[in-house]
């Protein structure tokens, strides 16, 4: 039976009822958030929130739609930082020519975030605040040591990535606060980065993903190597692999003898360290053992790619 075109009386609704505000400025938005308190929820791109609403896994009493806050639709690169406003869509960041050069990890990760159609709407800051344990951008912020700016009627604070992620889908945004921007340090000279992951299908959430960041000295030796892991821990986990990489590099040199170096270093020690440190969970998509195995393999791949990028930047 076809229902009459009676507009608002239709029963075909997925989300449960909520109050709704669409403020025109950050000042108005934080004022509304302050008056609502813990029952308020910010709607930006909605690519994670609206599915939760449709499935009624979330039922906030009041939504504050920030899609009119065009003052937050920006990406800026200056003073060694890439700053992404809360209304910058994933695809805006992905296609920003300055950001891509300043911090390649942003583009490397964003290309793995869902599909282009989702990236047209989803926001980078929103996905970080959402804090999905398999979300790529949380790992980017954590690995780079970035920060999130939070505005409220009582002022403004900046939270470092290491303090921002509290648990699965839980970040340190307090009632009344609006996350207005994310800050990512640019990639230093002689540094390289990479993001690699395995998912069941292209665009799906990763079963395991690894982002790597390496720093080389002028001779190409590794002075620092770190990696961030998604899909295998409640929050993006960052491991220091410097020592393990140095061992791998030493072994590689001794095995190679006089051959001068473009052979691939085997990052077995780094992969094993990651596997030892991670305690992933099993679910319908993968067993814990398989996830741990992926973490080991992907660690080596991510490190190799990051080093290749660092060397390419030194040569270039």
């Amino acid at each position: 039976m076809i229902a009459p075109a009676s507009g608002s009386n239709l029963a075909e609704v997925k989300p449960s009822s909520f109050g709704y505000s669409r403020p025109e400025s950050v000042a108005e938005a934080v004022s509304v958030l302050a008056s609502i308190g813990p029952e308020g929820k910010v709607l930006a791109g909605g690519q994670s929130l609206v599915p939760l609403l449709n499935l009624r896994l979330a039922a906030p009493a009041h939504l504050v739609d920030i899609n009119r806050l065009t003052e937050l639709a920006f990406i800026s690169v200056s003073d060694g930082q890439v700053v992404v406003g809360a209304l910058a869509r994933h695809n805006d960041v992905l296609r920003d020519p300055l950001a891509a050069v300043a911090q390649p990890l942003l583009g490397q990760a964003l290309a793995l975030v869902a599909h282009p159609v989702i990236r047209n709407r989803g926001t980078t800051v929103g996905s970080i605040v959402h804090a999905d344990p398999a979300g790529e951008m949380t790992a980017v912020l954590a690995l780079l040591g970035g920060s999130i700016r939070l505005d409220s009627t009582s002022g403004r604070r900046s939270v470092a990535a290491q303090d921002f992620f509290l648990g699965p889908l839980e970040s340190d945004v307090r009632p009344g606060e609006l996350a207005t921007e994310a800050t990512f340090p640019v990639l230093p000279a002689r540094a390289g980065c990479a993001f690699t992951e395995v998912s069941r299908r292209h665009g799906d959430y990763a079963i395991c993903g690894v982002a790597a960041l390496v720093q080389l000295d002028a001779g190409g030796g590794i002075t620092s190597a770190r990696a961030a892991y998604i899909g295998v821990a409640p929050i993006p986990l960052v491991l220091d692999l410097t020592q393990a990489c140095a061992e791998s590099q030493e072994n590689h040199k001794s095995h190679q003898g006089q051959q001068n170096g473009h052979g691939s270093t085997n990052f077995t020690a780094a992969g094993e360290l990651a596997m030892a440190r991670l305690t992933p969970a099993s679910d319908i998509h993968a067993t814990a053992d398989y996830r741990r195995h992926l973490a080991g393999v992907l660690t080596g791949r991510a490190l190799a790619q990051a080093i290749a990028l660092a060397k390419g930047r030194m040569d270039g």
């Binding site: 239709l10 609704v13 009822s17 109050g19 909605g46 609206v50 499935l55 989702i118």
Partner: protein
Amino acid sequence: MAEPAELFDVNLVVNGVPHTVAVPARRLLSDFLRHDLRLTGTHVGCEHGVCGACTVLVDGLAVRSCLMLAVSADGTAVTTVEGLAGADGTLSAVQQAFADCHGLQCGFCTPGFLTTITAALAENPDPTHDDARAIIGGNLCRCTGYQNIVKSVLRAAELLRAAPPGEEPA
């Protein structure tokens, strides 16, 4: 029964036609198009952003209409599958390519493929075979007609190159 929901005015242009409709905040854009405007060409499949059937163009960008509130579409120009063909019913290049290449079987997923591909070809007019696969990576077809849909993407690009549209729908 709860008190009647507060209504919000939504002013938008759909397929070139302006509309002003008052809707509750929780009305999804997909339901707004189908139930309020009776434009049932936009299909809803999973209603949580996975299947791509409900994809429409909002200010020229392909988005999931089931993941957008109608109130958030206030002030935008929306193109649905009904807006792809010419005013005289002439199929768009993408629609023609689907007809040429047997790009649909049951047709349920087709509106989402057509809108997604229309937007993607506007951005990349000369896709490779791999590009074509990536373009449709976010759309599900349960008839498993992907091979012919990939051919349709490439054929549509060919048609567009041969005869660029004078007035392509936004």
